[in-house]
Symmetry: C2
Subunit: 403 residues, 2 copies
């Protein structure tokens, strides 16, 4: 047998569910506001490695044995227990270890909830601008997504009620309301308490579950955290998603969610492969058990400095041109809105090549608008670079007659 | 807003793709031959932690920065490069970093290949008894699976040819041939070189891709490794899957595969969520780059002791009853075949409760036979427990009149 000389042809062999999609490496601009990452200088790598070492030193046999097993599909018992503890400590509601599923980042949790609840042809509701990862997953699993009206405080309950009624009248009652109520991605607001109550009432009246994504809840540097939908309502209508990625390091790929037992069972049936990474689970659980508050107290003031620096530079460079931007109390993003008719989405790649990365608004819009908007991540760069990069962005916009 | 008092009903809300499936914890018997794990005492946890620490000490800023990014969807560049190097070093074929996708264990790689190639209603071919994880994934994505005849050396080429012809004549040409040619799971054999050549010729003639799963290739303690299908054929017809799980620790959840670029692109489009765990990637790449051979030289002699102990106990306890069992040259499993008509699959749970875990043959059979067979994993327990557990198994079989 010698090596074949002609290529094997896959013509006609690929599935309908697959697409010919490029395998991109992620590139980074000099001023990288296009990312969705916290600051690398806050990633507690030494603490995580130390936690692994401590686990080995104190109970090495048990750790080695658990590493030799395939991970429990639902996640490591230690991390599920810790997640349940954290939900009660931070969010004031009580769930048991069996009510928690650990996932490869919150993205997997959201994907499982979508798969458990929706069939191709179904509809789902999100904020008018929504985390593009969720938008993509909803669409990929065959849903038509409707963005519901938002203002500076987030979802407007009356508009949500009306949208659900309109869709239901057409036989298209949505299968879920997906929302990031704390430091919304991409727009930034925290939904006020009274709106949360109103939205719960609407959801119950129409019989539509709420998927609440709290992946930014640990990243608060101003204002007051609001009670989670899940804190306000334990009927099972709320699917509560959270993450360790933003708090510690996205490279750990570790999130979790809690929901009614019947939802968790359905979600598990959609899971591919075995459980989450046991190695990273030991590191996370060991580190956070001793250092959760300490880490947040170190992390969030730095995030505030960055947010303030970007805000100052936006004030200095974008005030006179009719632009507005959000002033978040936490999270990673500011949402920039240029005057109606300005297209800052199309030149995104050129401007990236000239040194400033951002995400054009269109990628976050179920209805495809947002050409005049951009998501700016302040969490990754230093405060100095946050200031300078926005100054440079203004120059690059001006050069193109965009302001 | 107060907590709701009635449960929210999900009646009519769940998707057709989901099922109400229990979230099981994995239980372990006193003598655990039902697992699919290597020995916990060989899991190089200290080496993995040391590799992370070395990476931090030597290039901490870069590591922290990469941990702050979301992982590249295709996997960390360092680990892809290492995987390409290892394939050339161990298997003698050359691929570039762009030809490698890192996955959450080899299970994800197999799942992606299945999704890229098959539509519901398609057919696929495996060995007569096949790794149950692959069987489950093939069926879950809607395939009808046909096990092709095997003997003590593995797949019989003539029977494979005939099966493909028969299926093709019915308009059901298989979309893939899945095989574990080194230390097959569950039966144990290594496929001889001449059969590999014959099977490649058959695959080309019919135009059917081969998915070659080499997750046990590092676990050889006897005999000679055979050239991989991919070593023999670089036409693109072979999709080559490998894993770090068996070599290091399943808890790391790290596998990879290489295939024709168009297959990789299709597979990537089926991937959910972002890339593999960067934290574990650093640990694996750092550890193996310095210790691959040393680790295998420590690991495999121990595996041989265990295999020999189990074989000795099978000889001492199962010889007179007409049972046969395989004598693998590596991997994790011995395949026990009791006389035709003996059902050792049904009492599996009872015997587990009495202290000996094994996998009944039926779970590995596309056609549902194998009631008289069991997969016995020798890799996990000590040599002593391998001997004693088989002795106990014989007692428990005798107690039930099964021998």
């Amino acid at each position: 047998m010698t090596a074949a000389t002609t290529r094997f042809s896959y013509e006609g062999l690929f599935s309908e569910r697959s697409e010919d999609s490029p395998i991109n490496s992620v590139a980074h601009a000099e001023y990288d506001f296009a990312v969705a990452y916290p600051a690398p200088e806050t990633s507690p790598m030494d603490g995580l490695i130390g936690a692994l070492q401590t686990a080995m030193d104190s109970r090495g046999d048990e750790v080695a044995r658990n590493m030799a097993y395939y991970p429990q599909p639902a996640g490591s018992p230690e991390l599920r227990e810790y997640a349940a503890w954290k939900l009660e400590y931070d969010r004031g509601f009580k769930v048991g270890i069996d009510d928690i599923l650990i996932t490869a980042g919150s993205g997997e949790a959201i994907g499982l909830a979508i798969q458990a609840l929706t069939n191709p042809g179904d509809t789902a509701i999100t904020e008018h601008f929504v985390y593009s990862g969720t938008l993509n997953q909803l669409q990929r699993f065959g849903n038509t997504v409707y963005g519901s009206e938002t203002d500076d405080d987030g979802l407007v309950p009356e508009a949500l009620d009306e949208l659900i009624s309109k869709l239901s009248a057409k036989g298209k009652k949505p299968k879920m309301i997906y929302t990031i109520a704390e430091h919304q991605n991409p727009m930034g607001p925290t939904l006020p308490l009274d709106r949360r109550g109103a939205i719960l009432e609407i959801a119950h009246r129409h019989g539509v579950p709420i998927v609440e994504d709290e992946c930014y809840v640990d990243l608060r540097f101003d204002g007051e955290v609001q009670p989670a939908f899940r804190t306000l309502d334990d009927s099972g209508i709320v699917i509560h998603v959270a993450s360790f990625s933003k708090l510690l390091a996205p490279g750990l790929r570790m999130g979790y969610f809690t929901a009614a037992p019947e939802v968790l069972r359905r979600a598990m049936s959609c899971k591919i492969g075995s459980g989450p990474n046991q190695f990273a689970s030991y590191a996370i659980e060991g580190f956070l058990r001793n250092s959760l508050d300490e880490h947040r107290e170190r992390f969030n003031p730095l995030l505030k400095q960055k947010c303030d620096a970007m805000d100052e530079s936006l004030s200095d460079n974008f005030t006179d041109v009719g632009a507005t931007w959000s002033k978040p109390q936490g999270g990673c993003y500011t949402w920039l809105t240029m005057p109606e008719g300005t297209d800052i989405t199309s030149p995104r790649d050129e401007i990236f090549a000239e040194g400033v990365g951002y995400n054009g608004g269109v990628g976050f819009a179920p209805n495809g608008d947002g050409q005049n908007c951009a998501r700016l991540c302040f969490a990754f760069e230093t405060p100095e670079k946050c200031y300078d990069g926005i100054e440079k962005l203004a120059k690059l916009f001006k050069k193109r007659g965009l302001m």
